[in-house]
């Protein structure tokens, strides 16, 4: 089994390394990140270096999450669409090993990117003579956890849907949107709209919000850390909870994706 895992991991990492689509995404993210952060270096309207650091870190982390989702989406959709899994599954390599190694490879890349970003912002802190705050490590680890959850969720969607539809579903029809819908429907009801339609919408949005994966399940508890980059005693547990949620979500998504992979015709 170790040899199978190793062989698949090497192949998946080669895929990431040579995928022009991922390279294009990486360049796009780099350009967008630069556009969003470079002006910070030239603005000097009393803005503290700390604020610049926080802004840069936040922007890069946002793109890291998107990139990790892209890894999960492309690794599955590309192999399914090129129909080369028949070369894998007609050998003593069960689908769970292939899928597990695909997920592991995405986790490895996400970890590497998060580590590089953490190293870079730490270096920037030192360069600007700022204290290296524990919140940097907290946010980096939290971003990593969210990234793996996103990668697994997109892997699942790519197994059952066309990649374009999967991307749209992940970007637009997510828990945040359903929550907005739920709040809007509830507000309408509180404002006096007693129609059955409003009630149905409220229940529907609430149901969808509950079943859709949440990327920041403890955002209320950790929002302060993202702003101050300080972690108070007793707040580290939220990182563990968040990582636990991401791992649980990943395991669920991988199991459903595996079941879908078994049902597919790889011909």
């Amino acid at each position: 089994m170790a040899e199978l895992l190793r062989a698949n991991l090497v192949a998946h990492l080669s895929f990431y390394r040579r995928s022009r689509l991922l390279l294009a995404f990486l360049i796009l993210f780099a350009v967008l990140t630069a556009l969003a952060t470079v002006p910070q270096f030239f603005v000097d309207s009393g803005v503290q270096n700390f604020n610049k650091l926080q802004e840069i870190f936040g922007t890069i982390n946002f793109f890291l999450k998107l990139f990790a989702a892209g890894l999960g989406l492309f690794i599955v959709s590309s192999h399914l669409r090129s129909r080369n899994l028949k070369m894998v599954f007609t050998k003593p390599c069960p689908p769970w090993i292939w899928l597990g190694s695909a997920f592991l490879s995405a986790v490895l890349v996400a970890f590497l990117l998060n580590a590089v970003v953490l190293g870079a912002v730490t270096a920037l802190s030192l360069l600007w003579h700022l204290p290296v705050r524990s919140g940097l490590a907290f946010v980096a680890a939290d971003t990593f956890g969210i990234s793996i959850g996103l990668a697994a969720y997109l892997m699942l969607l790519a197994t059952v849907l066309h990649p374009a539809i999967a991307a749209i579903l992940a970007i637009i029809l997510n828990a945040d949107m359903f929550y907005e819908g739920f709040v809007w429907a509830r507000s309408a009801i509180h404002a006096g709209n007693q129609s059955a339609g409003a009630r149905v919408l409220e229940y529907m949005f609430h149901f969808l919000y509950i079943i859709a994966p949440i990327m920041h399940p403890f955002s209320r508890n950790t929002a302060n850390i993202y702003v101050s980059l300080r972690v108070m005693h007793g707040e580290w547990k939220y990182l563990l909870y968040s990582l636990g949620y991401s791992l649980g979500l990943s395991a669920f998504c991988c199991l459903v994706a595996l079941s879908a992979l078994h049902r597919k015709r790889h011909i």
Binding site: L4, H79, N84, M87, K91, I97, R265
Partner: protein
């Protein structure tokens, strides 16, 4: 080695979920050590049958067993199976060497560098080992598929149109390789449209038409089934024997067919009429003729299948 009993595969296509019956009660048996060929027209169901044997497709009904097990994705039974697909659906982002190594590693055994190099050398791929598969020609991709089949000495080999896209030299070398593999005891199941190739390699054949096996037998039985007559070529000298049929004149000579039981009568006729006898040989039926007769012979297939299907 492989047993398929009354397998049916129905696909549902389009918005109306129109059913397409790819296999309609296919029954066949491949014995250990066979070089078994599946032949049939395009869309007859040869590849679908192979997908069922490989576990890539689950039959709608019926039963398939490969080496005593029901095939399913990635089962341990595949440690003794190699498969060369019809379309080169390979990992195009890998180089030639990486692809062969990857496919060989999927058997769960570490593959030595030398084994990979030997395999690439044997198929003339050594100089292209660093070329990505996306940049390779169809023939080269096919050779990569063949190379990964040769690394492990598997007991069962599935080949779907193996020589498609190969140059004539590579075809001949591949044929020799297949003979070697078969002689060391491996069972080979092959789909091909190249009937001359099948005649050279296979010992058993199944003819598939419209999702059913219409004939299945040893190739020698299939081809000698019609050896009830002799072809004779001679210089006529007046009258012709009344049992000579399908006679045609070719310049100064006459060519025709005589029934097997009239061979001695014909010899006597030739002696008494002083015929210049050029040739007298057992009539051979090519696989192509046989295939055409069975598949395109109107009611022929039903009669033939009743006779040949075992």
């Amino acid at each position: 080695m492989i047993r398929a009993e009354d397998i049916r595969v129905t696909f549902k296509r389009g918005l109306s979920r129109r059913p397409i019956h790819a296999l309609q009660g296919l029954t066949l048996e491949v014995r250990e050590g066979d070089f078994f060929a599946l032949i049939g027209q395009n869309g007859a169901g040869k590849s679908t049958a192979m997908y069922c044997f490989l576990g890539l497709l689950k039959p709608t009904s019926g039963r398939v067993e490969v080496m005593g097990q029901i095939p399913d994705l990635g089962r341990p039974v595949y440690s003794d199976v190699a498969y060369l697909p019809e379309e080169p659906h390979y990992h195009l982002y890998l180089t030639v060497e990486e692809a062969v190594r990857y496919y060989a590693s999927l058997y769960g055994r570490r593959v030595s560098k030398k084994a990979i190099e030997d395999s690439l050398e044997r198929l003339g791929l050594a100089q292209f080992k660093n070329l990505r598969l996306s940049k390779c020609s169809k023939g080269m991709k096919q050779k990569v598929g063949i190379a990964q089949c040769l690394i492990h000495e598997t007991r069962l080999l599935f080949l779907d149109e193996p020589t498609r896209g190969l140059d004539p030299i590579a075809v001949r070398e591949f044929r020799e390789t297949l003979r070697d593999i078969h002689h060391r005891g491996a069972t080979v199941v092959m789909n091909s449209h190249v009937l001359s190739e099948i005649e050279m390699l296979a010992n058993r054949v199944a003819i598939i038409d419209a999702g059913r096996v219409v004939a299945q037998d040893d190739l020698s039985n299939l081809l000698t089934g019609d050896r009830e007559s002799y072809i004779v070529t001679f210089e006529p000298n007046g009258s012709l024997p009344e049992y000579l049929f399908a006679a045609e004149r070719q310049g100064t000579v006459m060519k025709g067919v005589i029934p097997k039981e009239r061979l001695y009568d014909f010899m006597e006729f030739a002696r008494t009429h002083a015929l210049g006898l050029h040739e007298c040989s057992l009539k051979k039926t090519s696989l192509e003729e046989k295939f055409f007769n069975i598949v395109k012979g109107g009611h022929g297939p039903v009669v033939e299948s009743a006779k040949l299907l075992k």
